[in-house]
């Protein structure tokens, strides 16, 4: 079951890389976060860790529901361009993405021997990190760049739950708090009309 959701996590991120519409990108981000939350719940149940269960629920509520909702409302409020064409052409991206996946599995090989649990998941986390960076790089518009940043945060979270069986609760809650703070700052940055009125 965990393997299935890890696969979904990666697949949703890859699909997001090919998306040319903003709302669809937000849907894929939401789905990506949902799989991450479910993964945290599954691993939490498996290792009987209450902290990870709380983290899983928080992930689903904050990342899969609240953040995509806020981003969509920002896009309506500040009139974002919804047609988001990636700079990298699809035919090149089709070659580049598997290359990144193979490269990261090769890169993570020495590490995976050192991690007892879920060793292949670490490689997937690192490849997700690279794919999120690619998402940030391949778009000129700010909104997909933000989604890339949030996906990067998801990849780090996946690394946290797979490589270490979850970080301490206090740290994970702090990371959630910072994420919410980032959304507040992003909202303030979008208020360009404030500049004109100043």
């Amino acid at each position: 079951m965990v393997d299935f959701f890890i696969g979904l996590f990666l697949a949703s991120l890859i699909t997001a890389l090919f998306t040319t519409r903003l709302y669809r990108l937000l849907v894929w981000y939401s789905f990506n976060s949902l799989t991450l939350g479910v993964l945290a719940l599954l691993i939490g149940i498996k290792i009987d860790d209450n902290a990870m269960l709380i983290t899983g629920i928080a992930t689903i509520v904050i990342k899969a529901i609240a953040i995509p909702y806020f981003l969509k409302s920002f896009s309506q409020k500040f009139h974002f361009i919804r047609q988001i064409q990636p700079n990298i052409k699809i035919q090149y991206a089709i070659i580049l993405i598997p290359a990144i996946l193979v490269f990261t599995f090769y890169l993570a090989k020495p590490i995976t021997h050192m991690i007892a649990n879920n060793s292949n998941y670490v490689a997937i986390s690192i490849s997700s990190l690279f794919l999120s960076l690619l998402l940030m790089m391949e778009h000129k518009n700010v909104a997909p760049k933000i989604t890339g940043f949030l996906s990067m945060e998801n990849s780090l979270f996946l690394l946290g739950i797979t490589a270490t069986n979850g970080m301490p609760m206090l740290v994970e809650l702090g990371i959630f708090f910072d994420l919410l703070m980032a959304i507040v700052v992003i909202n303030l940055l979008f208020r360009r009309e404030e500049m004109k009125n100043a």
């Binding site: 990190l129 490589a163 270490t164 702090g174 100043a198």
Partner: protein
């Protein structure tokens, strides 16, 4: 004690919502309250557990917090006359203070943290709050750079978290959830079985920190941001935010020293020399004060990192303190120096009348000459001790000749920077036309605070305190 530390930040946050002009003055003076708990922390017996094992005060972080609080006071004083030099709306001004309060809270957690996770949370909070400070300048360039900072800063901070997770994964088998604890990690560093995993984590953390400090290959992003934002933001970046980053580097590298010193030294040595090599030529080509000071900041942070990994703890900390006082002082002076245009270096030190004007140009001249390590600047002493530490390391590893060659290259690069600063100083003092410029009491007072702090830094009690930090 934690309440006392956070109290001024909460007051500033609350006052920033009051629309009265009196609140503006009050905001600057509230920042003085920061000094009370930081002075108290220095005098307390160490280690002092501020909040369980999460926030622990030792000599190193007490010193860095004290230096940062002086910089914070200087910046808030200079902020009082920001609207006299640049166009800033009242709303933006209040918001600047609001985010300064959040920045300060993040910074306290980051500097005093004994936990990798809390360190990261504090740093992220401080980073995010500075994003809005950049945007207080309502220009298109500042808006663009605020986004740049948001994105590049996010990548850098994500790299740091990525490294922290790897370090945590490497130490969790022996320490459990306590693997986040800096002191415990240091004490059990030699027991970590997967040293490769730790080193990979450390390298990633370091690259994230180096990107945030503008090291190779991201040399210009910070300079562009500081150019686009108001000058107090640049002062906060160089004097406080970089302190929070460098203390993290100190903590992580201390643990890495226990794992494999040679790997650590080679990695940092190559990275910093490469950074100084590129930065020295960028400084040579700099055409305005902001970029000049910003790039010089990168050079000094690289030197601090190099001295630290060479075992020159005293040199690194002295250099850090001197840089933390000098650079914000220079950034704050740009508000006056650039009165007649951003790119007019010629004659920038002319046109000051009265006692205030004379003290101002005299102080700026001193700061400019001190930043290029002219004696008796604390930087002169720190560089002597730092290069001494590098030679000592080389002697113990039979690499004396190659180290001498590296120091020679470093000195050549530093002389390029020295030449540029002297040229800039001469142009400021002896070239260009005379335009009358106004200096305000509060900004002069902040420069005097920095000047006095620099003098105190080279007194024997402070030197002894720094020597005591091993």
């Amino acid at each position: 004690m934690l309440e006392l530390l956070l109290f001024p930040a909460f007051i500033i946050f609350g006052l920033s919502f009051i629309k009265s002009d009196k609140a503006k003055r009050l905001l600057a003076f509230v920042s003085f309250l920061i000094l009370i708990p930081t002075v108290k922390l220095i005098s307390l017996p160490k280690p002092f557990h501020l909040f369980k094992d999460y926030l622990v005060v030792d000599d190193l972080n007490a010193y860095i917090l004290f230096v940062s609080s002086i910089v914070g006071i200087g910046v808030t004083l200079a902020l009082m006359t920001l609207d006299k030099h640049v166009k800033v709306s009242k709303n933006a001004y209040r918001r600047f203070y609001r985010f300064f309060a959040i920045f300060w809270i993040g910074l306290i957690f980051s500097i005093l943290s004994n936990n990798m996770g809390i360190y990261w949370i504090g740093l992220e909070l401080a980073t995010l709050s500075t994003v809005y400070m950049i945007k207080t300048n309502h220009s298109t360039a500042a808006y663009k750079e605020a986004w740049n900072y948001m994105i590049v800063g996010a990548i850098a901070i994500s790299l740091i978290l990525f490294g922290i997770i790897l370090i945590y994964a490497s130490a969790k088998p022996i320490l459990g959830e306590d693997a986040m604890n800096f002191n415990l990690l240091l004490a059990h560093a030699k027991e970590i079985k997967s040293s490769f995993l730790f080193e990979l984590g450390f390298a990633t953390v370091s690259v994230g920190m180096f990107v945030k400090m503008g090291f190779f290959p991201m040399n210009l992003w910070l300079a562009n941001i500081e150019r686009a934002s108001f000058y107090p933001v640049a002062a906060l970046f160089s004097g406080i935010l970089e302190s929070a980053i460098i203390i993290g580097f100190f903590r992580f590298s201390k643990i890495a020293m226990e794992i494999n010193y040679d790997h650590l030294f080679t990695f940092v040595f190559i990275y910093t020399i490469l950074t100084i090599f590129i930065v020295s030529f960028l400084i040579y080509r700099a055409k305005d004060f902001m970029r000049l000071f910003s790039l010089s900041g990168i050079e000094h942070m690289a030197l601090i990192a190099l001295f630290w990994v060479s075992g020159g703890t005293f040199a690194a900390l002295l250099h850090f303190g001197a840089h933390a006082f000098l650079k914000p002082a220079l950034f704050l002076s740009t508000g006056v120096l650039e009165s007649n245009g951003k790119y007019k270096i010629a004659g920038a030190l002319k046109g000051y009348k009265g006692k205030k004007g004379t003290i101002f140009w005299f102080l700026v001249s001193l700061f400019l000459l001190a930043i290029i390590s002219l004696p008796p600047s604390p930087m002169f002493f720190s560089e002597i001790y730092g290069f001494g530490a590098m030679i000592k390391v080389a002697k113990s590893g039979d690499n004396l000749l190659s180290m001498m060659a590296a120091i020679l290259i470093l000195l050549i690069l530093l002389s390029v920077i020295f030449y540029k600063f002297v040229e800039v100083y001469q142009s400021m003092k002896y070239e260009g036309k005379v335009y009358e410029k106004k200096v305000y009491v509060t900004e002069l007072f902040s420069l005097i605070i920095f000047g006095i702090s620099l003098i105190i830094l080279i007194t024997s009690p402070v030197m002894n305190y720094l020597r005591g930090i091993s």
